[in-house]
């Protein structure tokens, strides 16, 4: 840090890069598991590089299209990440008060923060990409280093886009709603492309939607010619293409710095003025007081969830990633009959939901000490919280059994029982194996409870498979019309 003048942009940027790197570091067993995985990945990369060292790698047009598709998909994920990073910078307690009260130009602060966001994004994907790419590149295919340039360019563009979108949302809906809506938009953006590809009409005779999409792109020469071929050429080491994509990334980054400084500062100032919401209920206060621990706990958990719509949305949005599975179950050549597919989906979805809500109620308790000093047995509180989690998931859990009931009542009853068992098991696993965390870190909750995640999935598959099998038997295998 002493090689650059203190307070300069470079000095600040190095500081942000250091923070970005340290924010990825984990502790304890998770760190060693991470090192092991990285080492394993590197070994695979070295083996691959050694095997390919004297072998020319062919580059068919499909590879170029593939790079373009992955770049676009990656950009949406990265932009969602950048939006969340921008929201954290603007609306959560951090070092902005310190930086903005120091004699450092606001633009330097903005660019340094953007660089930190871009670095965080790039590091995430670099951990997956570089252990493979670097050995292969070093052992005879140096042109693949273009992938590194493409990654850097995408991260820079995503950071600029993410901040611009966040500030635009803040201007449209105000700072208070911006946090909530920003998180919702980021969540939808992350899954939008993925979901759209699943909803595209499938061509007859094609094994998958992706293959159909590939054909359309190839026919239209998208990805193989013109500007759309830039990502592909850059990834394969074309110096001009590399320069162009990097220039685009740097230009987006510089443009964000030049145009968003004022919006960034006012966004920060607006966001830091937390004003309490007040909505006089007009109700007698006695109605807020409930007899019994279960009702008391449920009322509290339900109120907290109601007042955090972004969090509730994130929980429900996770179900969107199950849609392809569901479509695969009911459509295509090897489809299950609908009741059986619905039964499987019912258990899977409910398990996911109960697990997520259980994490919120049990592991993400905001005031654990209050519960510890209260004259209530821990087991009683945990039971009440699990019931609250189950009740929150209940509306979704009932949908599929009702749908199945239209065709087979016995099937509906079986599905309901298996759904309750699967959901209960998921909640119990979270209770016993979940790690404490903050509600705002919902998307990272599994980082400390990998075993819980794996067990929950296994339980859901077992109960879901059982439900599907039993419903298939009792429904006589009713086929899709």
């Amino acid at each position: 840090m002493t090689i650059t003048p203190a307070g300069s942009f470079v000095w600040l940027a190095l500081h942000e890069l250091r923070l970005a790197f340290r924010s990825r570091a984990t502790r304890g067993a998770a760190r060693w598991i991470g090192y092991l995985l990285l080492a394993g990945w590197l070994v695979i990369g070295c083996i691959t590089g050694w095997a390919l060292r004297d072998t020319p790698i062919p580059v068919p047009p499909e590879a170029m299209i593939g790079v373009l598709a992955v770049s676009v998909l990656g950009l949406t994920f990265m932009t969602a990440q950048a939006m969340i990073g921008s929201q954290r910078t603007l609306y959560e307690r951090g070092d902005l008060p310190l930086l903005l009260s120091a004699p450092i130009p606001g633009r330097s602060v903005l660019l340094a923060k953007l660089l930190g966001i871009a670095a965080t994004i790039a590091l995430t994907y670099a951990a997956l990409l570089l252990p493979i790419v670097l050995p292969v590149a070093i052992l005879g295919h140096s042109r693949l280093l273009g992938l590194v340039a493409l990654l850097i360019a995408l991260a820079l563009v995503a950071a600029a886009l993410g901040l611009a979108l966040t500030l635009a949302i803040a201007r449209l809906v105000g700072p208070r709603a911006a946090r909530t809506i920003g998180q919702v938009v980021a969540a939808v953006l992350g899954g939008a492309l993925f979901l759209v590809t699943q909803l595209l009409p499938q061509d007859e005779g094609r094994s998958s939607t992706f293959a159909a999409l590939f054909d359309r792109l190839r026919t239209a020469r998208i990805g193989t010619s013109g500007i759309s071929a830039l990502p592909g050429h850059a990834a394969l080491g074309d110096p001009l293409a590399i320069l162009v994509v990097l220039a685009v990334g740097v230009a987006a980054f510089a443009a964000a710095g030049a145009t968003l400084e004022r919006a960034f500062l006012s966004g920060y100032l607006d966001g830091s003025a937390t004003v309490s919401r007040s909505r006089p209920s007009g109700r007698a206060s006695a109605r807020l007081f409930h007899p019994g621990l279960t009702r008391t706990v449920f009322a509290k958990e339900w109120t907290l969830l109601k007042r955090d719509p972004a969090l509730a949305f994130q929980i429900v949005l996770r179900l969107i990633y199950l849609v392809p599975l569901f479509l695969g179950l009911v459509g295509g050549r090897h489809a299950l009959p609908i009741p059986a597919a619905l039964a499987f989906a019912s258990v899977l979805i409910t398990s996911q939901l109960v697990g997520s809500f259980a994490w919120l109620t049990v592991s993400a308790e905001d005031a654990p000490d209050l519960l510890s000093v209260a004259p209530v047995a821990r087991a009683q509180v945990d039971r009440a919280k699990l019931l609250a989690a189950f009740a929150m998931a209940a509306p979704f859990a009932l949908l599929f059994p009702i749908a199945i009931g239209v065709q087979t009542l016995v099937g509906a009853a079986i599905t309901l029982v298996m759904t309750v068992l699967g959901g209960g098991a998921a909640g119990y696993i979270e209770l016993k194996l979940g790690k404490p965390g903050k509600r705002g870190a919902f998307n990272k909750r599994r980082s400390g409870s990998i075993v819980a995640g794996i067990l929950s999935l296994l339980v859901a598959l077992v109960f879901g498979g059982g439900a599907a099998g039993l419903v298939f038997l009792v429904s006589g295998g009713i086929a899709v019309p």
Binding site: S276, R277, S285, L288, H290, G292, T296, D308, V376
Partner: protein, 233 residues
């Protein structure tokens, strides 16, 4: 015979190193007792064990004759703990928070509602009763937390550095509230590292350092023992 509100014998606790080492303490019912000591002396650790937030490595704790390790729920039922950082839910209003605390202490709804209304008015929180706590100042959060500690009418009230970060008006309000509790026959224990706070609030002061009680008594007793007109820590 004076009833013992808190009786500690041979209390010991270690983390990486011993924090409490053989602490004995007696606090009579109906007094305001200040546990005074420098940072790291073991004040908070001691009272966290009394409140049931941590288990001692050795020793016994009795709250009004109830052994906290044999009957933890019975002890908690008559105790209130108020840490220096309020245990609140940002997205709940003061009224909702009090409803939750009342539920945890199994108060009847009607009685709890009446007490909540009374406390909110007494602590000048009535206008904010339906406002979420997320935008409250530190002082207002402390008031909400204090209301939560008082709503279930505890016999023993434990407060960790209750005046830290409060302005003069809030500090006066908290002191008056605690004195009112003592006047009503409750027992109050506060920790502080500031002698002036202990001077102005407490009936008796215990000085703790290195996990041991070094001296205790009224302020005059301690001054006489020290042989000086004023003491500093």
């Amino acid at each position: 015979m004076t009833t013992s509100a808190l009786r500690i014998r041979g209390l010991a606790k270690s983390f990486d190193k011993p924090v409490i080492a053989g602490l004995d303490l007696d606090i009579a019912a109906g007094e305001l007792y200040a546990l005074l000591g420098p940072n790291g002396a073991g004040k908070t650790t001691t009272l966290r064990m009394v409140a049931g937030l941590a288990a001692p490595d050795a020793g016994s704790i009795e709250i009004f004759g109830i052994d906290t390790q044999r009957d933890p729920l019975g002890a908690k039922a008559i105790t209130a703990w108020l840490p220096d950082e309020a245990m609140l839910y940002d997205k709940l209003t003061p009224l909702e928070y009090l409803a939750f605390v009342a539920g945890l202490w199994r108060m009847g709804p009607a009685h709890a509602a009446a007490e909540a209304d009374r406390l909110l008015q007494w602590l000048d929180l009535w206008e904010q009763r339906d406002t979420r706590c997320e935008g409250f100042s530190r002082g207002m959060k402390q008031k909400v937390a204090l209301a939560g500690a008082l709503i279930h009418d505890p016999r023993l009230l434990i407060l960790d550095e209750p005046l830290t970060g409060l302005d003069a008006t809030m500090a006066r309000l908290v002191k008056d509230a605690l004195r009112a509790q003592v006047d009503a026959g409750k027992t109050v224990i506060v920790t502080t590292h500031i002698l002036e706070v202990a001077e102005r609030m407490a009936d008796r002061i215990g000085i703790i350092a290195g996990g041991r009680l070094l001296a205790e008594g009224t302020l005059q007793d301690l001054r006489d023992r020290a042989g000086t007109a004023g003491m500093t820590l």
